[in-house]
Subunit: 286 residues, 4 copies
């Protein structure tokens, strides 16, 4: 299955500002790329479009980051990619066993720790109450994911930049990232490594659900590998396209601006295409 | 100047527990090591002492970590090192300039972000009020360090594992790590990278101040290098011996136990020795 | 000057629910009432409107409260009042002195304490930093009010029910009640009693500013009396009509529902009328 | 049964400071008083003891408060009382039914609201999860009390002045007041009025447990009356002597100082006496 993803973001910058973008695909997808995977950073002045000099680097999580000094005025970030993905929904691995801490790969250990939005230390006793009775491994990971899905309500208006897993636990309302932060925190508290993911998650082979956005989900480490989990959409989605992983949303902000940047345009799309590059139509809503 | 550091820690473990220790010296000190730099992980059963199998690894911050599965019963962690250090107090670099974000080494950028105990997002506007008028660079870093030193009171009884920089800012009382967390948060908020450090900081060429402990300080990145700062002891100490660096105390816990571990003994010492290995006497208190 | 105030609120109730309303004028206005001051609690079933039995009582703050059990279905709360108010803007009393604690009327002392949204204990040291240098009395109260006004930005979208003064201090954005909570907290921390107020604040003798709402402000106790302060609108408004006072928004919620109540209609208006009852036109925007 | 209670508290005051004390017995005990119920406020200067002028008043909760301006130097607060109490443990009223909100006495309604340390708004959904399945009334109140008792650990070292019910819920450790704050919050969230109480709770007809202190417990309103509950000591104590009630610890601080007051002495005792005034010996520890 071929997935094409595109975005176009524009900011107005009252003055020059340094920015970091995590807008490329994750290096783990390199073998799946079937067309240009490009990012354009451009300054727009009326009709004139000029490229902004940008440098790529890989951060400590293995994400492909882009840094640039955007000049005063209108900034456009755009990109697109074509990748091949299995035409399967998120795998179900009921036998995936939970590792003992001492046998985990060392690079995975950091995903057991507390982070800005995932206060494992504060929620570990609550997690024990709620999930201590569950079977270690896949069943436990699913139980946590579903608990969060069933106890938290989605509401765009409830988003705020400083919202933590503890806030989500008490307020029970949030956006994508909030669902994942709470699930990650509980998962780590039960000694299963969990990391935060951003990427594309379009409406693929399912009825359209409105304008696209970047999406957040998370991954748990069981039986020697990372498995995609999504406490918001826990219905077995297909077509996830990974952009970046980190401890939580802090590490993988789509763009970080070290100064004022006023968002003016934001369009994201991710959809299946056929071999000719044409968009595959979506099934109707029932 | 030769610094000898030693520690001995014992835990009672009601059952086997996986542990991670950051008890070695930081690799950046490798050239300064003048004697064995060793860590012993041992199980004690009455008179019998048997080694516990432990594996070393380097984490994403470059710290030398040790992981092991400690058996039920008494666990002893001990170690010592001998390093050569300059006989100078913490350097003062009044001309050290602040980098523009876009010119910072990319591996340093993560030390501008929020972390578990350093909520840059929550305290950035407060930081602007307090430090916006200061001169960028060294002067700003010092102003922040001294502000924290002068507004926070030390009290061992005020320690708690979940205390954040915001808590320190409102409560104005804390232990070593709390001073550093607040200073780090303000420093990052002013766009100067700052990282948390643990290590040995004995009473070196100064009157004794009581039983030793591991210490925490922080480093700021100015003019192309990291500089030691200490919002608790901001009087120009010498003899800092670096063990680990990270975003905050989460990353560099001396020991992390994935289960119950009851502390039974805790002795840490760091002191100057002469060429024969004898302890250099401390000056008297005036 | 005559002020007419009116409101109409409707809820859909999936099942019967007990409610408390603070929708009447404050008893301190009794002498100023120039027409019926009425509250209607009604159940609406298609064309049929039937009164809901409601009981009035006065709470410990002297507010006129109304309690009722609203039946399942559509509930309408409506009311209106006509009061005479001085045609002056909020008084300015530059000589109003600050009382020593020991000379304050005892019923005023409670307004020095911490409350749900006004954590005096957490913000007292911050208040000392910010306002310790100001002159006690009126000048200090104004300094606090203006500091909050100038450091907090209004944004309807930033409202949330659990937002505290400390949140407002760090986030620097809020709605009416948030401005007042932060100002109240700082004022109390400087030993000036401050209480939260709800009431009508229409566009009176000033250009219209859009649809009406209930408003929140606060009062400080100086020189033997309470003075109106408004950290959001600190430009000397006239025509405030007091409904209820309390420690903070907890005490004076317009309506408190002990069960689900979905808001369906919300219209509030407060305006000047002439002796014939006709609305006095507003001046144009310049 | 006759209970004699005594206390002696001393402060050093670097300068004159206004103070409020809630150190008298609650007026509801007036009929039970069998001897002087006295409070002495005294300034001590070497051998000279002089009374400090103090005024009594009753606050909005009906508590007997004392206010005074203590001069610079040593301040002594002392008092004692003799009251008759039933020789029964805390009553058990398994049939006590929960009121509908609309039938509660209006003066009780305030004890359903959030307060400084009891964030009903933040914990109401958690309460629903934990206690939604319980039977309304006495059974529910007991379930909450016991849940808190069983999930929170007592530790004097964990006390801090700003600790809230939410903190207790996540940290699971606290002192008297913390246990009660969490239980009060959950109880209110389940629509049962609950208020915070301070008083004497000596070792009466039970083995001694060490030096005395003032104690905190709480009361729930069921079946037309207030019932004592104690989430810390939930083993049916006798000899509770009520001093003050309020929404939470904010309202009933034993002493509130509006300035620096350094505690120098603190002795509290409450014990049974026989008709001759002699202390009744305690049973031995088994």
């Amino acid at each position: 299955m071929l997935i094409r993803s595109e975005f176009e973001i524009e900011f107005d910058l009252p003055q020059a500002v340094a920015m970091i973008g995590l807008l490329r695909l994750h290096p783990s997808l390199d073998d799946a790329i079937r067309g240009a995977e490009a990012l354009h950073v451009e300054h727009i002045d009326g009709e004139t479009v000029s490229p902004v000099q940008a440098g790529d680097y890989v951060d400590s999580f293995g994400n492909r980051c882009t840094r640039f000094l955007a000049p005063q005025g209108r900034l456009r970030l755009s990109g697109n990619s074509l990748v091949e993905r299995d035409a399967f929904a998120d795998p179900i691995a009921t036998e995936a066993r939970q590792h003992q801490i001492e046998e985990l790969p060392t690079e995975v250990l950091q995903f057991l720790l507390s982070s800005r939005y995932c206060q494992v230390d504060s929620l570990s006793l609550v997690a024990g109450d709620l999930f201590g009775h569950t079977t270690p491994g896949w069943a436990r990971a699913i139980w946590i994911r579903d608990w969060v899905h069933n106890h938290v309500r989605f509401d765009y208006a409830s988003a705020r930049p400083t919202k933590t897993a503890l806030d989500v636990f008490t307020e029970r309302v949030g956006v994508c990232r909030d669902f994942q932060h709470l699930a990650i925190t509980f998962t780590r508290a039960m000694n299963i490594p969990a990391r935060y993911v951003t990427g594309y998650l379009g409406d693929i082979r399912r009825p359209g659900s409105g304008p696209g956005d970047f999406s957040a989900w998370y991954e748990v480490f069981l039986d020697g590998q990372w498995w995609a989990m999504d406490a918001r959409h826990n219905d077995g989605r297909m077509g996830r396209v990974l952009m970046a992983v980190g401890r939580d949303a802090t590490d993988v902000a789509i763009t970080t601006s070290f100064g004022v940047a006023n968002l003016k345009k934001f369009v994201v799309e991710s959809f299946e295409v056929d071999a000719t590059g044409s968009k595959v139509p979506l099934p109707p809503k029932v």
